[in-house]
């Protein structure tokens, strides 16, 4: 972004160049909304898919099965081909009413404004601290996203024999990453009496040769400089110590809704997402939100019937795969286009 852009009033500013942000920009273009910029704090597009080094990504968007990093590259290529402007290394630091943003960039801090702003900042896992887990603060404790970005982006690993906490879909991505990285987990722990992800995926623990311990939680992390062991406790209160050199906390996704929380937008108390209406609009009509940053409360996870197989459309909440975020980005972009232009027509080739 050039400094001459400083005082421009954009039609739409999109925060985040992940699947939903890029899909929204492409969709807006088809509806004739061209004065759009995506602000991305990283140096590459793709969001979380950049480090999800496993398939399946891209089924909906590219009719092909891709790994995350390849998908992320394709997203960036598509955006470039269609003339979407992505400003990398641009971190939004503040949202103000009416679509006014404070943005930090290596060339200085700027004030930008848009008629509409789309928040597409994604989601992340809950770290150890927010889970209030007992023990010291040793090295070797991280989330799946960290393991994946260390391994797939930097070829480094945080541990060799961790304990894996959680049994969500992402927990199995974590096992798959471990296998690729030559990491052999000691055990997978699940606090409830059954895995969050059920048949047939939980047979995967056998494939990965990782014992799944149900009704078990970490009662204490042991180790001063690095993790040396964990104390685990089962439903009967029996305590056991497992030797390990790390802990991989998986899942418990939480929307990356910091900008909304720090600013004026109303949050959905049940999900910590920006509160949105059916069109994706936030409490300030200049703001919309799409993709994984918007999570919908699930009344009771037990209420929904458990499917035999999971695919892109029936994955358990919360966390949507890239294809669903892509679709949500398109959907909310259509709301924004109609909000700005009224009755325009969609031009597929734009």
């Amino acid at each position: 972004m050039t400094d001459s852009a400083q005082n421009t009033l954009y039609d739409v500013i999109i925060i985040g160049a992940g699947p939903s942000g890029i899909a929204a920009a492409l969709e807006l273009k088809m509806w004739g909304v061209n004065n759009v910029v995506i602000l991305e704090r990283e140096t590459q597009a793709g969001g979380a898919t950049r480090h999800c080094g496993h398939p399946p990504f891209g089924i909906r968007e590219y009719k092909r099965i891709l790994t995350g990093p390849v998908y992320a590259k394709k997203l960036a290529e598509t955006a470039t081909k269609k003339g979407i402007h992505i400003a990398f290394s641009h971190s939004v630091t503040e949202l103000a009413p009416g679509g006014h943003l404070t943005v930090a960039s290596p060339s200085g801090t700027k004030q930008l404004a848009a008629r509409r702003v789309l928040i597409a900042t994604g989601i992340r896992e809950t770290p150890r601290s927010a889970r209030l887990v007992s023990g010291d603060r040793a090295l070797g404790i991280c989330n799946t996203g960290t393991l994946q970005s260390m391994f797939y982006l930097k070829k480094l690993i945080p541990f060799r024999n961790p304990v894996v906490v959680g049994s969500e879909i992402v927990s199995f991505s974590a096992l798959s990453t471990c296998k690729k990285a030559g990491i052999q987990p000691v055990a997978m722990l699940e606090e409830s009496d059954r895995p969050t992800v059920r048949s047939p995926i939980h047979y995967a623990t056998r494939y990965f040769n990782v014992p799944l311990l149900l009704n078990t939680r970490i009662s204490k992390i042991i180790g001063h400089d690095r993790v040396e062991a964990v104390q685990i406790v089962n439903q009967f209160g029996a305590v056991k110590t497992l030797t390990c050199d790390g802990i991989l906390f998986t899942g418990k996704f939480t929307p990356e809704s910091t900008l909304a929380r720090m600013g004026h937008l109303v949050l959905n108390a049940a999900t910590d997402s920006p509160a949105v209406d059916a069109t994706g609009r936030c409490s300030d009509p200049a703001y919309y939100a799409a993709g994984n940053v918007v999570q919908h409360a699930v009344d009771s996870p037990e209420a929904a019937p458990v499917p035999l197989y999971y695919n892109a459309d029936n994955l358990p909440q919360p966390v949507n795969v890239a294809g669903q975020c892509w679709a949500d980005g398109q959907r909310v972009a259509r709301s924004i286009a109609s909000d700005l232009n009224g009755t325009a027509t969609r031009n597929e080739s734009a």
Binding site: L132, G140, T146, K155, K220, T258, L267, D272
Partner: protein, 472 residues
Amino acid sequence: MDTAKETKSALLASCDIAVIGGGVVGCAVARKMALEGASVVLIEKAADILEGASKGNSAILHTGFDAPVGSVEWKCVQDGYKEYREIHEEFNLPLLKTGALVAAWTEEQEEKFAAIIKKGHDNGVTDIHLISRKEVLAREPNLSETIRAAILVPREYVIDPWSTPLAYLKQALENGGRALFNAEVTGGEFDGEKWLLNTSRGSVQARHVVNCAGLYGDLVNQNVLGDCNFAIKPRKGQFVVFDMAASKLLSSVILPVPTERTKGIVIFPTIFGNVAVGPTAEDQDGRDDASVDTDNLKALRAQAVEKIPGLANIPVTATYAGIRPATEFREYQVSEDPARHWITLGGIRSTGLTSALGLAQHVSAVFKQQDIHFTAPDKPVIPRVPNLAEHRPRDYQTPGYGEIVCHCEMVTEREIKAALQEPAAAGNMNGLKRRTRATMGRCQGFYCSARLAELTKGIFANPLDAGENHDR
């Protein structure tokens, strides 16, 4: 075997004053004596400063209104407070002018107010006064309405717990001092004129020794002097840090009415833009067991929510524990042994961050009383430390920072690289975190650990990564 012995007995340094311990007190003493012209060596057993009692505290700059009247602690807190106010700007150290409220939630607590105010006034903190419930709520509208009244302590402030000792160390180093890390003092001999201290890395010759070993202060005296008149009784304090969004809910430090044993649980704004609650006061045997536990963390969080109901909707960002070097006595254990050229600064509990500069003044005064003088440099170097305070301009607001590495705390590549440069380079990941705020935020390293592992590869003995592995 012989080689190992030789290596360990190798003379690493020879100096006027050896300071044992790289906590805030050791850093302040090293600074003061370097400024007075002594050759100083700071000896620390860990890989960086602030690895003991100084790593986890509430970062309050205390007025000393509630210190034991006429005590060494009171004097050092007052002197330290005054000197910090005089020097902080030239070091680029922050001061968050929060003020504090000693809050009463019960009639019983309110009944103690008169005694607290009298003690404060006796301690020379004459501006503390009672304010009504209405005045409290006007000042802090997010406090629970069950508040009854409070004592306003207008000049009780919040500072940066890590950059402050770092600034002291840097000034010591830039004025001729040295620091030895990973060097644990195991014993020593005094020949009537000078000490030969044995450390795990080699020996250090010093004319005088100042023991600032904090949690190990009694052991150092026992192992080197052969005796110690106090025993460290480690007391752990756990803290819960709320997301920065909580900063909208609180502007003052909320102090409890103290009990005999402890100052109690404080709710306070941090210099980094968060709100934190703590510490607990748990006696334990372990001197390095700074572990947290779920039950206490939940209880702390609940207590904070009870007093500031709006915190119920704010996520927890971090949890930590610090260990105070309490002793069997209520007072600091400050003593000198002129015959053996030894000064002990022991049992420096909760108030050490404030009193450190005062304790350093005390050490300087002791040397002068003993007619020991040094030649001060004409123009002492005054190093500036990077600002980490949220209420002042941050590095990312100045162009040319490279990239943002830690997005939650907005830490730049330029800041990370600077923290890895001498003098006083980070010695481990914790040290890097304390110098930059990297990984301190709400994601706790989710987004930036990979980049940090890359930037610090091969630098630390205990690295973020466990090695390299390639896709198979």
